[in-house]
Every structure is written in C-alpha cells, then in structure tokens.
Assembly symmetry: C2
Amino acid sequence: MGAVTIKHVAKEAGVSLQTVSRVVNNGPNVTDAMRERVRAAIDKLGYVPNMAARRMGGSKSYLLVAFNDRKPTLEKWRAGRGSDWVAQMLLGAIPRCERDGYHLLLELLDGHSAKLHQKIDAIISSLRPDGVILTPPHSQDRSIIDQLEHRKVPYARLSPGEDDERGFRVRMDERQAAVMATRHLLDLGHRRIGFLTGSAEYAVSTERLEGFRAAMADAGAAIAPEWVRQGEFSFESGIASADALFALRGPPTAIIASSDEQALAVLHRAKDMGLDVPADLSLISFDDTPPIAFSLPPLTAIRHPTAAMAERAAALLIEGHGLDMPPSPPCTLPFELVVRGSTVPPRR
Amino acid sequence: MGAVTIKHVAKEAGVSLQTVSRVVNNGPNVTDAMRERVRAAIDKLGYVPNMAARRMGGSKSYLLVAFNDRKPTLEKWRAGRGSDWVAQMLLGAIPRCERDGYHLLLELLDGHSAKLHQKIDAIISSLRPDGVILTPPHSQDRSIIDQLEHRKVPYARLSPGEDDERGFRVRMDERQAAVMATRHLLDLGHRRIGFLTGSAEYAVSTERLEGFRAAMADAGAAIAPEWVRQGEFSFESGIASADALFALRGPPTAIIASSDEQALAVLHRAKDMGLDVPADLSLISFDDTPPIAFSLPPLTAIRHPTAAMAERAAALLIEGHGLDMPPSPPCTLPFELVVRGSTVPPRR
DNA sequence: GCAGATATTGAGAACGTTCACAATATCAAA
DNA sequence: TTTGATATTGTGAACGTTCTCAATATCTGC
C-alpha cells in the first residue's frame, strides 16, 4: 500500500529524483547539507529502494546466484543424509550479501542434463544476477565457465581445482590438510595408514590423496597399494572401502576418510567387526559436519571452512569490479585439524 | 548482451507485445495458431521473461521469501551444530517454486531486535514478494502476522501452533507423534519414561508434551513429576536434563527427547555414566536429522516432514489466490516413527 | 574580476514488462 | 442480411529506478 517511492522522498526533501538516487547510492558530488536533508526525508518516510526498479533502470541487480549441483544434493537429502554443506554455504554468504543490500538465490542445476546450458542461460536472462557462486563440481566445469565468461557474468568458484585459472577462486589447501592429518597419525606412531579417496570428478579428491602420499613419503613410510581405496564421498562407498581394508591380511591401524559420510561408514563397519575406535583403529575424516562431532566417539577431523569460503566468494563478487580482470591468485582460507577422540597411538 | 526481449519475439512472430505476453502467461483469448506461432518465435530466440521487468509492469514478482530466525540459526551453525533444518526447508520448497517459475529467497530475521518490523517492512518494500514462508518461532509471532496482514502479503506458517488461525498453516500432528513414540515405549514394556521438553516459545514443545501425558494416562502409567524436564532444544539442555534424570533414585528406563540434539546429549551422557543404550536405556528423539541416523546406535526417532511442509507452503502461496480468504484449516502432513536400534524392552 | 575548470543539481529518456482499454474480427441469433 | 455479443488482437500508459547529458553554482589561479 504505502509504497513509498523515490518520488515521494524527492518531493519531501524538495529535490530532484536524481539527487535522492545519488544519496541512496552514496554517489559523489553531493554536499553534506544536501545529503543530510535527503537522509532525513528517507528516514521520515521509511523509503527503501525497490529492487526490481533498480534492476530496470541501472546496471546492478543486487542479486547473487549460487549454482549447486542438483542431483547429489537432492539425493543425499532424500536419503536422510542431510545437506549441511548447502546450509553452511548459504549461512556464510547471506549475511555478507545483506551487508551491502544484496540477496542470494540458490539454484539447483543438474550437471548431467542436456539442457544445462539452456537452463543457465535462462537464469541469467531472467535474473541478470551481478554474480554467480559456483560450488563444486560445477566450479570445475569448463563449459559453465565458458558460458559465464561469454555472458559476461562475474563468478566465484569454490574449491575450483588447479587446471583452470579463470575467475575468482576461493579454496582451502586440501593438500596441506591431508598432510596435516597424515602427520598427526604418523606422530602418534601409525605407519599402516589407509586412505579413502573422494569422488574422482572433484578436484579436492586428488589434492587430498596427493597430500597423503607426500606426507607418507616425507616420513619414509611406505604405502601398500591396497591401503588406498578409490571411492566416492558416499556412505555406501565408505562401507565398501572399510570392508576391503578390514579384509586385508595386515589391515591399517588408522584410516583417513575423504568425507564425513565415509568416516561414519567406517565407524559403523568397525563396530560390526568388533573393532574399537580408537583403540583398534584411529580415524580421521574430512569436512567436519555435525554428525562427526556428535558421533561416539567424536571424530578427529579436518574442518572445512565452507561458510567462510562462501562469505569470501560473496565479498569478491560484491566488491570486485570484477570482469575483464587478469586472473587473480586464488584466495586460500585456513582450515583446522580438530583433534577429538578418534585418534590415539596404535596398539603395540 | 544478447538480451532478447519480448519486443524481439513480437517482431519475429509479427505480432504485438501484448500477444506475446499473453502466450507467455498462458492468458486466455489466444488462438491455437497464434499461440503456436509465438511459441516458435520464443523457442527460436530463446526468450525468457525478465523477472525485474515483470515485477515492474505487473502485480506478480515470482518471488517467495522465507523468514528464518537469525540467532538460533547462526549460533547453531557457528557451534558446529549444523542447520540441517534450513537446508531441508529450502530443498523442499525450491523445486516447487521452480516448477512455476518462482524463486525462493532466504532472509534471516532477528526476532528479538527492536528493528524487526522495520526490517520486515524493508524486505517487503524492496522485494515485494508474492508470499512469505514463516518458520517457527516466527510462525507464531502475532506481531509479524499482523504486519503481513496489514501489508497484504500472503503468508504460510510452518508449525504455527494453535492459538492463531490466520493465514495458510502447514504442520504435522506433534501430539499424535508424541503419543506414538510413547506407545512404542509402553508396548516394549517401559513404564518409567522420561520426557525432555523443547523450548517453551515453540508451540510444538507443548504439543509434544501433551501427547506424552495423554499416552501415559491412556495406558494407566503414572508420570513422576521429576521425569519431565523442562528444557530447550539444545545439546546443553539435553546434557543438563540427562544428568538430572540419571541422578534420580529410580531413573527412567527410557527417555523421549524433543530434539535430536537433546537425544545426542543424552546418548553422550549415558556413555559417560557407563550406561548402555539401548540395553540400559531406550531413547527416542524428535526430528530425525542426519546425525541421529548415523549415531551409534542409530536412534529411533520421529521423522519430521520438514521438506514436505516447506514444499506444501510454497505450493499454497503459489496456487493460493491467497488473500482475504476465510481462515482455512491447517494442512497436516504425515510423520513417521522410524524404529532403529535405540529402543528395546527394559531390563528386568 | 575574469576565464576556465570543477563540483553540484536537474531533466528526460530508457529499461522490459503488464495493465486497462480501444479496435477489430468472428460468431450466433433474429 | 443485420445486430449484438463475444473472442481475439493491438495501443499507449505505467511501474520505480538509473543513465546520459545539460544547466547551473562554486571554486581556482592569474
């Protein structure tokens, strides 16, 4: 009803529309007195600029869109696995957007759909966002990046991998994290360490494995080939890998899982086999979503700074006068090794 | 760049803007031939209506906003507790929105802020959403409902409680769920059953407690006053309540927790005390977020249909030619008692 | 005190849609 | 046929901003 527009403010303050607009947008060339006068009128009337009109008139839409892979997200959620990752991303980015009057919209995209690019085009045309946040694995998808470049939409890539340097990139040092996890186990005295890789199409999977290998080599500890299990991030994959490792003649005394789901699977299988964690088997997982901290025992884990990364991505897109820039170095955020009860020295 | 507008389509098809608009919006009074011709032009040019312009011209914004309480959400998330609830809500509602070309925006509101209503006004003025989804405890806040009524914004309330019948309401039968949980324990042979209530400002807390009392009374089982612990949904509250219950002369043989966090707290405390779940203590929780299913033992729980509720809320707002309607009965969605390993007959 | 630069304000068009209504075409009944 | 009703299409204004550019006011340095 009320529908206070810029016109009302202009009339109230006795100035032109343009002047009000300048004040609202912190434009240059406004005297302090004028700014004050207009501000007073704005406060008095409770004026808030209309987003749609802003988009129509100007070049900014005050809208960011996050592209999230639909299938794994919905499937995990339907399977009761939760999608804490999505929540963390949103809760990290939204407050940052808010600070500058932006809004964040979550879009679910089916990476394997033939219509993927059509869908992206539709989103861009319809929403005309000021920026796009790409979550993995979309953040590694060259064809999506090509499309965004072509459409001249700024974008920020979360955990983008290393073979494409375009766009804003926000990551953590997955390799170093794996090194730290491995060293933690080595320091405790473990030498027989199993490693469960994540899904091959995620760059982080490779990086984590590399870190593990490097740390082991560095310590002069040999890795038996059968200790490294290629897998996926899923619970099922964790079950399969755990079974394979437990069936070995000389099973590992410690396992590093590439996801919390995998780790939980290992924990469950261990219990089924009558193995005690941590007495018989030390366990470290990657990501540190809630189920991990509250499991019994609480698991030692690498805490992934998902929210901070999303916040950073939003900040880059909002501040970054972003396009046509030379490729900037990726922004690498700190992670943390949270030591809980699942890692102890191996049994003698 | 490309920026194909309705004008281009009109020219391509050799018709007026208005006709294209009618086809796009499935308007009446268009011949099949014409519809075909315009559709062809739309497909050929890849036209997608611009959301902002639509909002400017017409009365619909194709936008729904979800109001979520900021403090508990952010605090839980910062404490590493996850916000699976938020993710479930979004993943339930977003696909439904998508189906009709709508978008869903998540807004975090601080329920205790003095500026709450100012903030809501700002969101409405700036975004002009076609509907608002209220999550608890906002869904019970009369002043928010008053404001939305006054601004004539349709709204749907999730788990709204029972003392205000305005607006669309979507809920599950919390009372019946508590009855079912209690009966499950009674059927197993438990008589000494503890109950941990949720935060008092949430309507569901009361409803669940009522269900528990009713089921016990129905079975002729007495409830010792000290078995019912007033608390909050949090992990800390669960710890405190568990300690209090375990310290009793004759402690309960089973506990119903009003949230997963509470239940996990009980599980942890039980372990600390050397109590085995389920042998020494049966445990049921409410909500069934992921940490529960993957804990050891996996917990029996009431599965809250959060996603389905959000989907329904979105549907009501999208379809509902919603305002000035007589108060409709609440839409009650089915829940489920998922029996896992944490409930067995009591020790003799 | 004057020319030129620069800072400040204002006016009107433009953005891409839908709305209200006017114009035309088509149809059924007299 | 003719008439009135109805189905189909088109026209111009409106939505609330920002953009471009022009107009004016205010500074500099000589």
